[in-house]
Structures are given as structure tokens and as C-alpha cells.
């Protein structure tokens, strides 16, 4: 019961918002807040169910081979936690910045939240595709919601490339249906084992290409920098923090269920794309002058780290990848929200121009520096720990090349984050040496978003230290074990 609620609650909120708009021209902030809390509660309940007692719920009472099943297990639970934290943070920042005015924005926002929960919970391949499409359309709309020409262009490119990805995914699903006649993800691993080699090649190509495009892996990532940099700050934070992780979950789930026992080529390809993303993302970020575009390319690189972890095809590697996904959400959302604040105060997104202004607050710079140090990988923060685990397991499972790419990535990311932090510090120094006439930007307000970013900064440190604690390590290992345990998944879905 609780699993359906996780999808239905945000969906209901999304449909109720236009109704409420008929009553109130501007939605009261607390109304949207209550809706957000309800969605958060439902998602967290589903996440807890998945973690403590993995469960499946059959929709409509139909048996698993005929109907749609929603499953929450130990792999879905951390991703649900991640997305619900991301959605809640983004909602709070949006409410703070825009109030209750843009009702269409909130409607699409809740639609996005519902579809993310749907992707994470479903065990039916076509249902996954449907939720994926709702997710994508909502994402295109949110990217374009600021109505600036950059947002429109980014939205269009995201749409065209995203639709192509969805087409390949649909083609893959169609081929699976043609080959096996089943679409339930728990029954498919066994059914796919008798499918001929060539069909499996086509199926895997289509599925991997479609999902990689949505994830933002290197050769097919071109929509990501435009979309993540042109969107408004809360939307960018949500996109980089939560949306790409949902795609990573789908990729992990499908690769592990369908291709782990049928042909390990898929995981090799995922590792290759991971390495290319790390190098390509960091090299492109190095040259950027626009701070948000730099952060977007940094996201491409961090997705590369996660893909390298997934490509290990072992419980430990996938556990490390999930750990990095959570850490990256904390770091990247913090970076986007802080830099959004800074850019609004200073009026420009260009790093060179920020250096010459005097409007940056020291508190913002301090928090930004913590996140920058974390994402570069300075011990004992969480970014270092997750990078270490990915390096460790990828050396064991896939060889030395990804580890050397990670090492190179650390140096390049240190170089460009150093540039950003030194520009910010330069601006603070200018401010403290007293440029007259900037007093209107003086008062550092304690806003909800700064409380959240402060909390994330503290969480970064705690997560880093907790990673050395054995019970924490075994919890994460259980996530990885659930991912590779195909029979367990089948038992969960079919046994009920």
C-alpha cells in the first residue's frame, strides 16, 4: 500500500495545484509546503520499507506476469532517499525565491517528483518507459521554465536528444517483448538467457544507448551542460543532484538484471563510458568561464565516476557507486545553490567578472569552499572517501585504467575549482578593503537555502568520517549485494 502512495501523492498534488489556482491567484506558500511534506513523507515511507523490509505490491491485484508490480528493495531505497532529499531541498529553495506565484512550475515540479518515484519503484519495463517519459517531459518543461532564450534553446536540445534516447529505449523494450513476450523485470533475466546472441546485442545496444543518453555519459552528454546551466538555480540543483541519479539507477537495474549473467560486455562498455566521461567532463570544465556551465561539466565527470563504479559489475563496486551518487547529490546541490546565490548578488555568472566585483559574502564563499574541497577529493570529506572506494574496487575488478583516469581527474578538477574559489576569495578581499557604495548587498540574511547548504556541508564531513565505520560499510555493501542478486529480486516480486 505504501509503495503506491509514494507515486500517487505527488501526482495528486500536481493535479490539485491547478484546482487551487482557481481559488487563490497566488498559491499560499504553506499550502505548497504541506504538499511537499506529504510527498516527502510518502517517499521516505517507501524508502524505509525498502530498506528495512523489502516489499512488492501488485497493482490491482493482478498476478506478476500479467500486471504491474511496484518493488522497493535495498537498491531502490537509497535512491529514493536521495531523490526525496533533492526534491525537498529544491522545493524549499523555489518557495523562498519565487513564493507561491508560478503555479505551473509547481505543478510540473510535483509531476516530476511523482515520475521519479515511479521509475525507482516499478518492476515492469514498459511502465518504466512511461514513467521515464513523464519524467523527461517534466524535466524539459522545468529547464525551460525561466522563459529566457537560453532556457528555450537548452530545452529544445534536451528534448530532441532526450526523445531520441527514449526512442532507442522503446525500441529495446519492443525487441525484448518480441523476443520473450514478457515485460516484467523479474521474469526477464531467465527468459533472456535463451535469446540468441545477436538479438541480445541489439537489445543491449538500444537499452544502453537510451539510458546512457539520459544519464549524460560522455559521447552522448551534449544536452547536459546547456540544460543544467540555463535552468534556474533550484532546477539546476535538482537536475544535477537527483535527476541524473534516477537515470543511473535505471541503468544499473537493467544492466544487472538482464546482462549480468548473459554477457559481461555491457559492463565493459559502461566502464569505458565512465572513463570517457571523467576525462571529457573535467577537460571541458577546465576551460569554462560561466560558473554554472563549469558545475554542469563537473556533473558529467562525476557521473563518470559513478559509471566506473557500476561497471565493476560486483557488489562492492555498485555499493561504491551508490555511495558516490549520494555524496555527489549533497555536494553538487550545495554548489549550485551557493553559486546561484552568489551570482544573483553579484549579477554575473562569469568567473573573471566575479573576481572584479566586491559583492560576495564571506559565509557563501566558506560554504562553497567546503563543497569544492569535497568534490575535488580532499580527505576526510565524503568525496574523497567515495572516490577511494571506487578506485579500490575498480582496480580489483576492471584494471588500472579507470583508477588512473580518476587520479588525473582529481588534479584537473583541483585546477579549475581553485580558479573559482580564488575568484570568490578575491571578491571577498575587495569587499573587506571597502569599496564604497555596496551597502545594499551588506546584510547576510539567514535564508532557508543557506541553512540547507550549511547542513549539507556538515553532512559532507560526517558522511566522509562515517565511511570509515565498519557498520556503515556493510550497509552499503548490502546495497550492492541486492543489486547483483537477481534471484532475490525475482523471489521478491514473484513470491508475493
Amino acid at each position: 500500500m505504501s509503495l503506491v502512495l509514494a507515486v500517487v501523492t505527488p501526482l495528486l498534488c500536481a493535479f490539485l495545484i491547478p484546482v487551487f489556482h482557481l481559488v487563490w491567484k497566488t498559491l499560499p506558500v504553506c499550502l505548497v509546503g504541506v504538499m511537499g511534506l506529504a510527498s516527502l513523507a510518502a517517499s521516505l515511507a517507501a524508502a524505509c520499507t525498502g530498506w528495512v523490509s523489502p516489499a512488492a505490491s501488485l497493482l490491482g491485484g493482478w498476478p506478476p506476469d500479467l500486471g504491474i508490480v511496484l518493488v522497493a528493495d535495498r537498491l531502490a531505497a537509497p535512491f529514493m532517499l536521495l531523490t526525496s532529499m533533492g526534491v525537498a531541498t529544491s522545493l524549499v529553495c523555489s518557495l523562498e525565491k519565487y513564493g507561491g506565484g508560478p503555479w505551473r512550475y509547481y505543478a510540473i515540479f510535483f509531476l516530476l517528483a511523482a515520475s521519479m518515484n515511479g521509475i525507482l519503484l516499478t518492476a515492469d519495463l514498459f511502465n518504466l518507459f512511461v514513467f521515464y517519459e513523464i519524467f523527461s517531459v517534466a524535466a524539459y518543461l522545468l529547464v525551460a521554465s525561466s522563459m529566457s532564450w537560453q532556457a528555450m534553446e537548452a530545452g529544445l536540445k534536451y528534448l530532441v536528444l532526450g526523445t531520441m534516447g527514449a526512442l532507442f529505449f522503446l525500441l529495446g523494450t519492443a525487441f525484448i517483448f518480441m523476443a520473450t513476450g514478457i515485460l516484467n523485470m523479474a521474469l526477464l533475466p531467465e527468459a533472456l538467457s535463451v535469446v540468441p546472441r545477436e538479438t541480445l546485442t541489439v537489445i543491449s545496444t538500444c537499452l544502453v544507448l537510451g539510458l546512457a543518453l539520459k544519464t549524460g555519459a560522455f559521447p552522448v552528454h551534449f544536452w547536459l551542460p546547456d540544460a543544467h546551466s540555463s535552468a534556474q538555480t533550484p532546477v539546476s540543483a535538482l537536475l544535477s543532484g537527483a535527476l541524473v541519479k534516477v537515470s543511473v539507477y535505471a541503468l544499473t537495474r537493467i544492466s544487472c538484471l538482464f546482462f549480468l549473467s548473459n554477457g559481461g560486455g555491457v559492463f565493459r562498455v559502461i566502464t569505458i563510458m565512465g572513463v570517457l566521461s571523467i576525462l571529457g567532463g573535467h577537460l571541458m570544465a577546465f576551460r569554462q568561464d560561466d560558473i554554472k556551465r563549469l558545475l554542469a561539466f563537473s556533473t558529467v565527470a562525476q557521473i563518470g565516476y559513478i559509471l566506473v563504479g557500476v561497471g565493476c559489475a560486483s557488489a562492492a563496486g555498485i555499493a561504491a557507486a551508490v555511495f558516490h551518487a549520494i555524496n555527489h547529490m549533497l555536494m553538487k546541490m550545495g554548489l549550485f545553490i551557493t553559486s546561484g546565490d552568489i551570482c544573483e548578488r553579484v549579477g554575473t555568472r562569469s568567473i573573471r567578472a566575479i573576481k572584479d566585483t566586491a559583492g560576495v559574502l564571506p559565509a557563501n564563499v566558506a560554504i562553497f569552499t567546503v563543497f569544492a574541497l569535497a568534490i575535488v577529493g580532499v580527505p576526510p570529506l565524503n568525496g574523497f572517501m567515495s572516490k577511494w572506494f571506487i578506485m579500490l574496487f575498480s582496480v580489483t575488478d576492471t584494471g588500472l585504467c579507470p583508477a588512473l583516469a580518476i587520479a588525473a581527474g582529481t588534479i584537473i578538477s583541483a585546477a579549475y575549482y581553485y580558479g573559482v574559489v580564488s575568484a570568490l576569495v578575491g571578491s571577498v578581499v575587495r569587499r573587506n578593503t571597502g569599496s564604497p557604495g555596496n551597502n545594499d548587498l551588506d546584510s547576510p540574511t539567514v535564508s532557508a537555502s543557506s541553512v540547507i547548504t550549511g547542513t549539507f556541508a556538515v553532512l559532507c564531513l560526517l558522511a566522509g568520517l562515517a565511511a570509515l565505520w565498519p557498520p556503515m560499510q556493510s550497509s552499503f555493501l548490502s546495497i550492492g549485494e541486492t543489486a547483483v542478486d537477481i534471484e532475490g529480486y525475482a523471489r521478491l516480486v514473484l513470491g508475493k
Binding site: 524539459y140 525551460a144 569554462q288
Partner: protein, 111 residues
């Protein structure tokens, strides 16, 4: 019948792909996307065909073709329609800014 269905799907897919890659008008890109979607849906529907089958409407007078792909196709058509609608809305808005619907000229975000 099956071969006809699959081969026409391949032809339509390639037409759509060619349109997307070779034509510069944004509307043609959208049409190309629509063609590609249609071809995939054609593959899905054709996959459910049983030679000598009758439409899956009760009461049956023989073997009915598989109705499940029909359900998928309907869902996917709806999704495709909303995608196309959104794409067209973007094109209209972009035209206001750029003054053109030429895909090669719409490259403000680069580097």
C-alpha cells in the same frame, strides 16, 4: 505481412533519421522525430501480429492477434504527441528570439 510491416518500419526509421540529420529546418527535425517514433510503434504493433489472426475484439472468430502491443502503442502515441507539442512550442519561442527556424543558426549555447 510481417516482413512488410518490419521492412516498412525500417524504411520509415531511416527516413526519419535522414530528415533529422540532413535537414536544417527545425520543423523538419520535429517531423523526423515523429517519423522515427512512428516506425518504432509500427515495429511494436507488427510484433503482435499472428498470420490469419482477427482483431482482438470479443467475441473472437478464430485466433486473435496480441492486444498487448496495441495498448503499448496507444500509450506511446500519447507520449509522442506531448513531446511533439512541446517541441513545437519551443520552436515558436526560439523563433521569437532568433528570428529563424534554421537549426544550424540556433547555437547560442556552445563551448
Amino acid at each position: 505481412m510481417l516482413m512488410l510491416g518490419y521492412s516498412s518500419a525500417v524504411v520509415i526509421f531511416c527516413t526519419g533519421l535522414y530528415t533529422i540529420m540532413a535537414r536544417r529546418n527545425l520543423f523538419k527535425t520535429v517531423i523526423g522525430l515523429s517519423l522515427m517514433e512512428a516506425s518504432v510503434l509500427l515495429v511494436i504493433v507488427t510484433s503482435g501480429f499472428i498470420p490469419g489472426g482477427v482483431p482482438p475484439i470479443a467475441p473472437f472468430r478464430g485466433v486473435a492477434v496480441n492486444p498487448l502491443p496495441h495498448a503499448f502503442t496507444l500509450t506511446a502515441i500519447v507520449i509522442g504527441a506531448s513531446d511533439i507539442a512541446l517541441a513545437l512550442a519551443f520552436i515558436v519561442k526560439l523563433n521569437k528570439h532568433y528570428g529563424t527556424a534554421d537549426i544550424d543558426k540556433i547555437r547560442g549555447l556552445r563551448g
